[in-house]
Amino acid sequence: MIAIVDYGVGNLFSLCASLKKIGAEAIVTRDVEQLEKADKIILPGVGAFGDAIDKLYETGLVPHLLRMAQEGKPFMGICLGMQLLFERSFEFGEKEGLGLIKGNVCDLSADIPQSLKVPHMGWNKLEIRAKDEPLLKYVKEGESVYYVHSFYAKDCEESIKAGSEYHVFVPGVVRNGNVCGTQFHPEKSGETGLNILRAFAEA
């Protein structure tokens, strides 16, 4: 059973539908007991970092989520949910994240030429850095995934498992032990995305 953390951000329709499609059992919950019982946890998210981390704290779940992640429960952040795993973000002022992965979340537009559009939105090819990354078990180099974001993870070299070129190298898949994340939306990335969710569900 996969528990999707419900903290009031984003639209979970596609994520739930895609997990159902691959035959993974999933619930959307903010109940500690349910999260405890689940084999794996997904932290979703869209919107702004500060707003999302505040909402996550308001649920009172943060200490529990941190404990579960530290105990070794497979834990996956998606899009903004991935960004929340890092130490801090600079979106609308500095804000602390969950600190489960070393690194910062920074403004993409500051690091790329003005001619490139922000948000980085659309399909981009995945360059795989770590061939043994469990999430990429069924994914080949050069398959495309769907991104929508204006901030990106930086100073996280050791956790980057795959990413995409957008003048800078945008980390697409990151991992620190049992804690992993994708900047792109696997639930919107066609077969490739379903295969990433499948690998997470199976692992």
Partner: protein, 255 residues
């Protein structure tokens, strides 16, 4: 880098996909869920659904169709047609839409763009515009291309971006249904200043038209078409292979 997108557009009336010519002569073609599944397997990069229903019953059928599509097709879905309020945004987003396309609703009330962007993020708000040449200028049309608003279309695009639209769909009434190619002149004009992705619509008749679009308007992000895909005159997998062979970067689905 970001790949160019190929987008089939599905006009849905009373639960069925239809395609009119030059905004006239509507006829039924197919079951939208079947078609969406087919396009997904063919390598479509995104799907656009327009609800062209007038009745309340039809609206219910549309959200039902949308929900069924979103339950089995996992690529971005843009939904438009009769989006006039934030409640309309909410209604389609809850059924699995990723982006909401506003057109006449935004002409009547331009703050709809700002409000939508504020609540759901710019990436969620697509400004769709129907454009036609009138007296040597590009004019914005409303109500499915039937009404000349008198507004300058290029200026409208500029304002839409300022108000928070995260993407533009530029549909040329002059080239739509004619199958003589996209409206390169209009698209170049808008892509000159657009800081958000632009989707070209209207005029695709064959594969070469897409190549012409991506070569002559390098900043364009996507080409959208309906009938040539619906009538199977152009297969999306062939189109993407052709474009890739010509050096246009495409998303590869089967490796």
């Amino acid at each position: 880098m970001i790949t160019k997108r190929i987008i089939p557009c599905l006009d849905v009336r009373d639960g069925m996909v239809v395609k009119g010519k030059n905004f006239l002569g509507v006829r039924e073609i197919a079951d939208p869920v079947e078609l969406a599944r087919f396009y997904n397997q063919s390598g479509a990069d995104e799907l656009v659904f327009y609800d062209i229903t007038a009745s309340a019953e039809g609206r219910g059928l549309f959200t039902d169709v949308l929900e069924r599509v979103a339950s089995e097709v996992f690529i971005p879905l843009t939904v438009g047609g009769s989006i006039n309020t934030l409640a309309d945004f909410d209604r389609v987003l809850k059924c699995g839409a990723d982006k909401v396309s506003v057109n006449s609703g935004a002409i009547k009330n331009p703050t709809l763009i700002t409000e939508g962007a504020k609540r759901y993020g710019s990436q969620c708000v697509v400004l769709s515009m129907d454009v036609k040449r009138v007296d040597g200028t590009f004019r914005l049309f409303a109500k499915g291309g039937r009404e000349d608003t008198g507004i300058d279309a290029v200026e409208w695009a500029r304002q839409g971006i300022e108000r928070g639209a995260g993407e533009l769909v530029v549909n040329s009434i002059d080239t739509d249904g004619v199958r003589g190619g996209f409206d390169i002149e209009l698209l170049q004009k808008i892509c000159e200043f657009s800081t958000v992705p632009v989707i070209a619509s209207g005029g695709a008749g064959n594969m070469e038209h897409f190549l012409e679009l991506f070569r002559k308007v390098p900043n364009i992000d996507a080409g959208l078409a309906a009938s040539i895909f619906h009538l199977k005159e152009v297969a999306i997998e062939d189109l993407k292979k052709y474009l890739e062979d010509q050096g246009i970067e495409m998303r590869r689905t089967q490796l």
